[in-house]
Symmetry: C2
Subunit: 202 residues, 2 copies
DNA sequence: GTCTATATCTAGATAGAC
DNA sequence: GTCTATCTAGATATAGAC
C-alpha cells in the first residue's frame, strides 16, 4: 500500500512548491489540492500547513515562481530568436507553450481568479515584470502606438494560450503531437500576427 | 435559506442539461458537479441520477448539445461575414468566443479528457460535424493543400480558445472588456493569420 | 419521477503528541 | 517540523419510500 511516511525533509517549503508544479503538470488546476501535493512528497496532509496558512497561499507562491521562470524563458527565447522584433515576440509564444507544457503553470495559474483578492507583494512584482517583458517585446516591433503594442501582445499571448489549452485538453491527442511541435506552430502563428497589412518596415 | 423543494419538473432531463450550461458559464468545468446542477433546479441531489447514470454521462450530453449549438453559431457567423473565405473562417473565431463566453461550454468541455473513454455515438456525430464545418471553412480559403487547411483551422481555433481562456481566467478583468469586444479582437487576430505575408507552411 | 436518507470518498483545516 | 487524529464540508452514487 502507501509508501511508508518516515520522510523528514530539509526544506519542505521549497519541496512543496516543486511538487506543486509536478501536480499542476499532471492534472492541471482542477485537480490541484494541498493533499495531493503532500501525497507526492510522502508527508502528511497536515505538513504543508506549517509552511503555508492555506491552499491559496501555496498557489500564490507557485504563481510567483512561475511568473519569474516564465519571464526568464521568454527572455531566453527572444535572445535566441535574433534581432527581428516580430520574430522575438513570436518566439515568446513558443516559449510559453513549452514552459506550460512542461510545468503546467501558465497564465491560468499565474493570474488565477482565486488569487485576485490575495495581496502578495512578491508575487505582484513577478507578474508585473513578466508583463513588462512582454510589452517591451511588443513595443519593439515598431507599431505606431503603445495601444497597438498592447493589442499585439495580447494577441500573441492568446495564440500561445490557445495552443496550450488545446494541448492540455487532449485536442491533439490522436495525432500524438509533441509539445515542441505544437510550440513551433504557436511560434509560426504568432509570427503571422505581426506581419499583416502594416509591416514593420525594414 | 434554501428555497423549498416542492418542485416537480415536466422534463427534468432537458432542464438538467440547460442548468449544466448555466453552471459551466458560472464556474467552469472545475466547479461543475452534479450536485451543483441539482441545486440550481431545486431538486434533490439524487434526482439527476434517474436521467443520467453518472456525472460523465451528463457531461457527455452537454458536450453533444454544445457541439451542435457551436456549429450552428459558426455557420451563422460565416454567412454574416459575407463571401471572403478568410473573413468567414475568422468570423468562426469570433463566434466561438461569443458562444463560450455565454455558455461556458467550449472545446475544453466538448473534448474534455474525462469523455475520451466514453463512446456516445450521438455525441461523436455532433463533434464530427463541428470539425467538418470548420475544415470546410479552412479548405475554402484556397490554401494549397488539405494539410495546410488543417493547420490554419487549428491556428484559428487556437486564437479563439486563447482569447476565451484569458477572458474566463479574468486576464482582461481590470479593463472590464466585454465579451463582444474580446470576440472582435479574436476575429481580427484570426483574420491576420490568413494574410499571406509569410508562407504558413514553409 | 422525485423525494429522503445514507454510505463512501476526498479535500481543507486545526489540535495536540513527539 | 512533522506526525496522528479529528472535524467540517461537499461530491458521487445507491436504496427504498411515496
Amino acid at each position: 500500500m502507501a509508501a511508508k511516511r518516515s520522510y523528514h525533509h530539509g526544506d519542505l517549503r521549497a519541496a512543496l512548491i516543486a511538487a506543486s508544479f509536478d501536480q499542476l503538470a499532471d492534472g492541471g488546476l482542477p485537480r490541484f489540492s494541498v493533499a495531493a501535493v503532500a501525497r507526492r512528497l510522502n508527508v502528511s496532509s497536515a505538513a504543508p500547513y506549517r509552511h503555508f496558512p492555506d491552499r491559496v497561499h501555496l498557489l500564490g507562491a507557485v504563481s510567483a515562481v512561475a511568473a519569474g521562470d516564465l519571464r526568464a524563458a521568454i527572455e531566453t527565447a527572444a535572445v535566441e530568436a535574433g534581432s527581428d522584433p516580430a520574430a522575438r515576440l513570436a518566439a515568446a509564444a513558443g516559449a510559453y507553450v513549452r514552459y506550460v507544457a512542461r510545468t503546467g503553470a501558465g497564465f491560468s495559474v499565474i493570474y488565477a481568479a482565486e488569487l485576485h483578492d490575495f495581496p502578495d507583494e512578491a508575487r505582484r512584482e513577478q507578474t508585473r515584470a513578466l508583463m513588462t517583458s512582454l510589452l517591451d517585446l511588443g513595443t519593439a516591433t515598431g507599431v505606431p502606438s503603445y495601444q497597438e503594442a498592447v493589442l499585439m501582445v495580447e494577441a500573441t499571448i492568446a495564440v500561445a494560450q490557445g495552443y496550450t489549452s488545446l494541448l492540455a485538453d487532449g485536442f491533439f491527442a490522436r495525432k500524438a503531437h509533441s509539445a515542441d511541435a505544437v510550440a513551433d506552430r504557436a511560434t509560426q502563428a504568432a509570427r503571422s500576427l505581426a506581419a499583416p497589412s502594416r509591416g514593420a518596415g525594414s
